[in-house]
């Protein structure tokens, strides 16, 4: 499946109401040092990247620690496909830097 482009990514991330319902089921959040290691954070950070924001080490860790297990998507009231967002962000990073990050 081809990853989404910037505009689709921003459109999908823009649906987030920031309710946090996704966080309760995320397997990585309890092991991360901040909210960026959970789906709510990742949605916003993918939008940050799509808008040309800095790919700082913290942002990269957030995007690349996602297991894309989709547990969060089942809980999302807005029906956001969070793994697809994460894949899109990774594709974007690869395209921008012309190399894989990990």
């Amino acid at each position: 499946m081809a990853a989404w482009g910037r505009s689709r990514l921003l459109e999908e991330a823009g649906k987030c109401a920031y309710c946090g319902f996704c966080e309760a089921v995320c397997p990585t959040l309890p092991y991360g040092r901040h909210r960026g290691y959970g789906p709510r954070g990742r949605v916003l950070l993918t939008a940050h990247l799509a808008r040309g924001g800095k790919a700082s080490p913290e942002v990269l860790s957030s995007i690349y620690t996602c297991l894309t297990c989709a547990a969060c998507t089942l809980k999302c009231p807005a029906g956001i496909d969070i793994p697809a967002l994460v894949r899109a962000a990774r594709s974007l990073l690869v395209a921008v830097h012309e190399k894989t990050i990990i």
Binding site: K15, G20, R33, H34, L44, L45, K54, S56, E58, A78
Partner: protein, 474 residues
């Protein structure tokens, strides 16, 4: 704030350790917003892990006039968790230990970062529960719920946070970062003025909560649940009266008006055979009394005009049969409909939080529908009818100036309606920034503007420099 931002962040890292401070701009932004749609940008986020960390942080902030914004999981809907001025977010996510559960003493001693559902999972193993259940319980923290004075579906029976917090450990925003213990680990407690209840609902403006002694209660043996649909609004009101007049205090009593039922069913593809005004009633019973209550509940709701009725013997059965599907669809349906109505992908949903005496339900819903027409804002109306708490909600495009202005005026008029009906402007979401004018209006309505002066005096007493969550509540 004295000192440049870079030095402040370096100072915090020296004070607490680098692993307890995050200053990555994009990550800090995640802690500078909430579902109300309000957002800003703090300097950094700090993650204290002990009461000593919090005390040292308070002392440091006091000496540098640094603003501190305590935060749980940012699920506030009132603006109370958003940093307004330059300052630092204090996230209690890492203070998430349950240090004691005693069924004999009926208490749980927990850190502020414990999530309510996680606590309840732990308590359920012992046959107990913490009954305050905000809709966000899966992610909401105990500290956040204390500070927002949260309630939930079970509030009609169990009340809100102020009824379930027995004691608190606090850190004051003063020159010493004073650590205080107030309240008791016993149910009965006369300790002079009730500082515990003063902190509950204070929205992080007076002190930082670093530990709480919560009261817990046994899980109900069984809950009988009925889902009913009524042709007329007055039937719903009659059903509420009929249940209460027979000396039954329902475990839950939820309501959605007909228009909201139809909109939610359509938006979320939920089959509803005979749409009408929805009433969901749960009554906790002894197992042996199940049959009697099932019969009584069915009879009572039919007698008040229910045209469609389903009754389940247990919560599990009610869940399996989808009794809660419509009620739970309220939030996603609001988002979906708002997006359609606003004609834009980026929408905000404003969820109001008024309460009226349950006897004024019909007046409240009719008033809200008339405001919907006046402002041309499609409104979803649902709520906890057992305690009169309604959550009318509208969605809008924040970049559409006309819509945003109409929503603002609607918001003010909804609060006015609640006051006219003998209610209150905020039941469980709090004041934050969004309802400061409403709070003033409520006290003026009560002829008690002096109450706000007293509150401002309390704020100065606890927080002489005004560094703790400034700009909120009063």
């Amino acid at each position: 704030m004295s000192g440049n931002p870079g030095r402040i962040v370096d100072g915090l890292k020296s004070l607490l350790g680098r692993d307890r401070v995050v200053d990555d701009e994009a990550v800090v932004r995640l802690y500078s917003r909430e579902p109300s749609g309000l957002e800003s940008q703090a300097l950094a986020v700090v993650f204290p892990e002990t009461v000593r960390d919090v005390s040292r942080l308070a002392r440091y902030a006091y000496s540098r006039d640094l603003k501190l914004y305590p935060q749980g999981s940012s699920t506030s809907l009132s603006g109370s968790s958003v940093p307004l001025e330059e300052g630092v977010v204090v996230s209690f996510e890492r203070m998430n230990q349950v240090s004691e559960v005693s069924v004999v003493d009926s208490i749980a001693v927990v850190g502020p970062g414990v999530r309510i559902d996680e606590l309840n999972l732990m308590l359920a193993e012992k046959g107990y529960m913490f009954p305050v259940d905000p809709a966000s319980a899966a992610v909401a923290t105990v500290g956040g719920a204390i500070n927002s004075g949260a309630g939930g579906m079970r509030s009609a029976k169990y009340g809100t946070m102020r009824d379930w917090v027995l004691g608190l450990q606090l850190v004051l925003p003063d020159e010493h970062g004073t650590v205080l213990r107030v309240g008791c680990r016993t149910l009965k407690c006369r300790q002079g003025y009730d500082l515990v209840r003063l902190i509950v609902g204070s929205e992080g403006t007076l002190a930082m909560v670093t530990e709480a002694i919560l009261r817990i209660t046994p899980l109900p043996e069984q809950v009988v649940v009925a889902l009913a649909f009524y042709p007329e609004l007055r039937n719903v009101a009659e059903a509420v009266v009929a249940v209460k007049e027979q000396s039954v205090q329902p475990y839950l009593m939820e309501f959605m008006d007909r228009k909201t039922v139809e909109a939610a069913a359509k938006a979320m593809n939920i089959p509803v055979e005979t749409p009408g005004h929805m009433l969901l009633v749960g009554v906790d019973v002894n197992r042996e009394a199940t049959g009697r209550f099932v019969e009584w509940l069915g009879k009572t709701l039919r007698a008040t005009g229910a045209v469609k009725l389903h009754v389940a013997d247990t919560l599990r059965e009610a869940e399996d049969k989808g009794f809660f599907t419509l009620r739970r669809s309220l939030f996603p349906a609001q988002i979906k409909l708002a997006r359609e109505a606003a004609g834009s992908r980026r929408v905000l949903v404003y969820i109001e939080d008024i309460a009226v005496p349950p006897s004024r339900l019909v007046d409240a819903v009719e008033g809200l529908r008339s405001l919907e027409d006046k402002y041309g804002l499609p409104t979803m109306i649902g709520g906890h009818v057992g305690d009169g708490n309604l959550h009318p909600a509208v969605g809008f495009d924040p970049h559409n100036e006309d819509q945003a202005r109409r929503v603002e005026e609607w918001f003010e008029e909804v609060m006015e309606l609640a006051l006219k009906l003998g209610g209150t402007i905020s039941s469980e979401h709090g004041i934050g920034t969004l309802k400061r004018s409403g709070l003033r209006r409520e006290f003026e309505h009560l002829g008690s503007a002096k109450a706000l002066e007293l509150m401002r005096g309390l704020k100065r007493l606890f927080d002489p420099k005004g560094i703790l969550n400034p700009g909120k509540v009063v």
